[in-house]
């Protein structure tokens, strides 16, 4: 992180794309919380996550980008939509989606964003890292996960198993014993 800092005045194509994707992500994020339609909110979330995936891609973290697409866009949002479909949530425009706490929520959100942006800008003010393509590829990540990080990786699978058992414990009522 000690490379010479190039001038900000002639941004490269990468930087421009990154900024545009960032703007799309922030805008879509705002629409998620302001739209009056539940399904629209879920779909705007797709745009937001997709733009984030694009940011990762520009930063050469291609594997993380595809995971973002698969898990967040693919699984989480689809889960949300299924949740809306299977419950009796209102599909159309509904007035009660506006919470009474929205001023407070907005203040908290802006304050949190301000703190985080300040910290990151202040912390990395002069840091500059050139991007080498390939360091975020699946091959590199796979070999580090199964070599350096194999123990936490396995521990995570244990965590998933525990969560699965827990979900069964607190949700299933139809298990009858074979007494």
């Amino acid at each position: 992180m000690t490379e010479a800092v190039p001038s900000y005045l002639s941004p490269t194509g990468q930087e421009i794309v990154f900024l545009l994707l960032g703007a799309v992500a922030v805008g879509a994020g705002l629409l998620v919380v302001t739209t009056r339609q539940l399904v629209h909110a879920a779909l705007w979330l797709v745009v937001c996550f997709g733009a984030m995936a694009g940011c990762y891609l520009v930063l050469t973290a291609e594997f993380v980008a595809w995971v973002q697409v698969l898990i967040y866009v693919g699984a989480v949002v689809v889960l949300l939509l299924f949740g809306i479909m299977l419950t009796r949530a209102p599909i159309g425009r509904s007035a009660d989606l506006d919470s009474g706490n929205k001023t407070v929520a907005a203040i908290v959100a802006v304050a949190t964003a301000a703190v985080l942006v300040t910290v990151v800008i202040d912390g990395f003010r002069t840091a500059y890292t050139p991007l080498d393509p390939g360091t975020g590829a699946a091959k590199e990540l796979g070999s580090t996960i199964f070599r350096n990080w194999v123990l936490p990786f396995e521990a995570l699978s244990v965590l998933l198993l525990a969560a699965l058992i827990g979900a069964i414990v607190i949700s299933r009522t139809d298990i009858r014993g074979r007494n």
Partner: protein, 518 residues
């Protein structure tokens, strides 16, 4: 596909054996849940769980005795199984074993967790004699996480261990048989607040990574001397990491969950949380603040001073106003976390660190046993609707059940740190380490807080022995073998550690002598 090969990682299986055994037994427990018929499950789970915990303890001792303490991190630098870690593993495994006896003992757990409280489903489940035997594998998963947590050598492993430890506990808290709504409320509260604290920890980790370029504890420590100009990242990162860790030990101002969760959870689980989780979390606090941030101690020490003072004072003073026995013990646990924090602050040269570390380790043993014993007694004093929680119900217990009340009084005296109990030597060791590290004002606050705490412990004793028993007072459950064993073991440990503490003190000294490996 260019057919590149991955070099196999080196995993020191012998070193990790205790942890692997626990996780393996948990997985076997899941299989038992899947394939064994319902009426057999409990009789398979109990020996399996107890054997796994005892086996893990034996393997830990074998490791310490035969192979000595390793000097390098294991499993590709993910885990540091050093002297303190082995000692902490030993404490956790013994206390978990004892708590399992308590869990096994009685129908404290709900018949069917998914049945709505008060519904006909619930009645049917109770009538059929169902039991949620999943508690045993969940307990083992949690204990496995507790072993990994204080031995983690980088922040990522620590975070994963934190989750493995906490997630089963969130569930176990909500499974009380009586007063189910209170229990479920405790569970949800613990889950939400715990998730918040995990998120803080994760964000802190990200910022510290931004500063140091690594999440390895040793690399962070060496980055403190070389990286310049990004201090704000470091400070904010350390603060967020600290929030996550201090939440787990229940230090003020992050103590709010403790009374509610301790009160709502099944008492056996409360005993487990109050003892083993505190031990594991202190191991992790020490590792982060001593190994990774040891060279930053001028910056975190003032904050820790404040946190320690606040924790001791809040714990001791608010405990006085409590009228529920489990809530009172929860605030007492908060105060004890504060006393232990004075030991964390008592850093200095290597010798000073050693003394402080050995004091903390001894304190954890002493406090853990007394806590499990105390909660075991709480499970035995019952009303029609379950445990007699309200303090007024305990009036005159000394006349109805002198032995039980006597033992409970003894545990309370140990919490208060009266001489001839284990608590005295624990407090003495921690406070003398703090005095040696020039933290005299802190020790003065600690002693004052101890005196305030002694007031409410003694108040319970006076209530038990010097007031008339109510006509419809609580009944004393006939203790089963498990509970009697727990109470006897905890009382014996408290006496032995109070009268003849040298062997354990020496052991703690030895464990601390090599300090943490880096």
């Amino acid at each position: 596909m260019n057919g590149g090969t991955i070099e196999a990682p080196t995993i020191e299986y012998a070193l990790l054996a205790p942890m692997l055994l626990i996780f393996g037994a948990a997985v076997v427990g899941v299989l038992v849940e899947a394939f064994a018929p319902r009426y057999l499950r409990k009789s398979i789970h109990v020996p399996l769980t107890l054997l796994a915990l005892a086996g893990g303890f034996l393997l830990t001792i074998l490791q310490a005795v035969r192979e000595g303490v390793p000097t390098t991190p294991a499993a590709m630098g993910a885990v540091a199984v050093d002297g303190p870690a082995l000692f902490i593993w030993g404490i956790i495994l013994v206390l978990a074993f004892v708590s399992t006896l308590l869990i096994n003992d009685d129908e404290q757990f709900v018949a069917q967790a998914a049945a709505v409280p008060g519904s006909s489903d619930e009645e049917a489940a109770v009538r059929h004699g169902y039991a949620q035997t999943e508690v045993y594998p969940l307990l083992l998963f949690s204990v496995g996480g507790m072993l990994l947590f204080p031995a983690a050598n980088d922040l990522l492993v620590m975070f994963v261990a934190l989750e493995v430890m906490s997630l089963p506990l969130y569930l176990l808290c909500g499974l009380a048989r009586r007063r189910r709504l209170l229990s479920q409320e405790a569970s949800v509260k613990y889950f939400l607040l715990g998730s918040f604290s995990s998120a803080f920890f994760l964000y802190g980790m990200a910022l510290v990574y931004g500063y140091a370029g690594s999440i390895d504890l040793r690399a962070i420590s060496s980055a403190l001397g070389t990286v310049a100009g990004q201090d704000i990242l470091l400070y904010v990162g350390v603060a967020l990491l600290g929030v996550g860790l201090l939440f787990k030990i229940g230090a003020a101002p992050f103590q709010a969950w403790k009374p509610d969760v301790y009160q709502g959870a099944p008492t056996a689980i409360t005993a487990l949380m109050a003892s083993t989780v505190l031990v594991a979390a202190f191991g992790a606090v020490l590792r982060v603040f001593w190994v990774a941030l040891g060279n930053l101690d001028w910056d975190w020490r003032p904050v820790m001073w404040g946190v320690a003072i606040l924790t001791m004072v809040v714990g001791a003073i608010v405990a006085i106003t409590q009228t529920e026995i489990k809530r009172m013990l929860a605030y007492s646990s908060i105060a004890h976390a504060g006393f232990l924090l004075t030991g964390v602050i008592a850093t200095g040269g290597p010798e000073q660190n050693q003394e402080a570390l050995s004091a903390i380790l001894f304190y954890l043993v002493a406090y853990g046993f007394a806590t499990v014993g105390g909660f075991a007694v709480v499970t035995m004093v019952r009303d029609a609707g379950g445990e007699a929680g309200h303090l007024s119900r305990w009036a005159g217990l000394g006349k109805r059940a002198p032995l039980l009340a006597g033992i409970f009084a003894f545990f309370l005296l140990a919490f208060a740190g009266i001489p001839l109990t284990s608590g005295f030597f624990g407090k003495y060791a921690v406070f003398s380490a703090a005095v040696a590290a020039d933290a005299l004002p802190l020790v003065v606050v600690g002693v004052v807080a101890s005196a305030i705490a002694a007031f409410f412990y003694v108040r319970v004793i006076v209530l038990m022995f010097f007031s008339e028993p109510a006509a419809d007072g609580p009944s004393i459950a006939m203790p089963t073998v498990g509970t009697s064993a727990v109470v006897a073991l905890a009382a014996a440990a408290t006496v032995v550690l109070g009268v003849f503490p040298e062997p354990v003190l020496n052991l703690a000294d030895q464990a601390a002598s090599a300090l943490f490996i880096r």
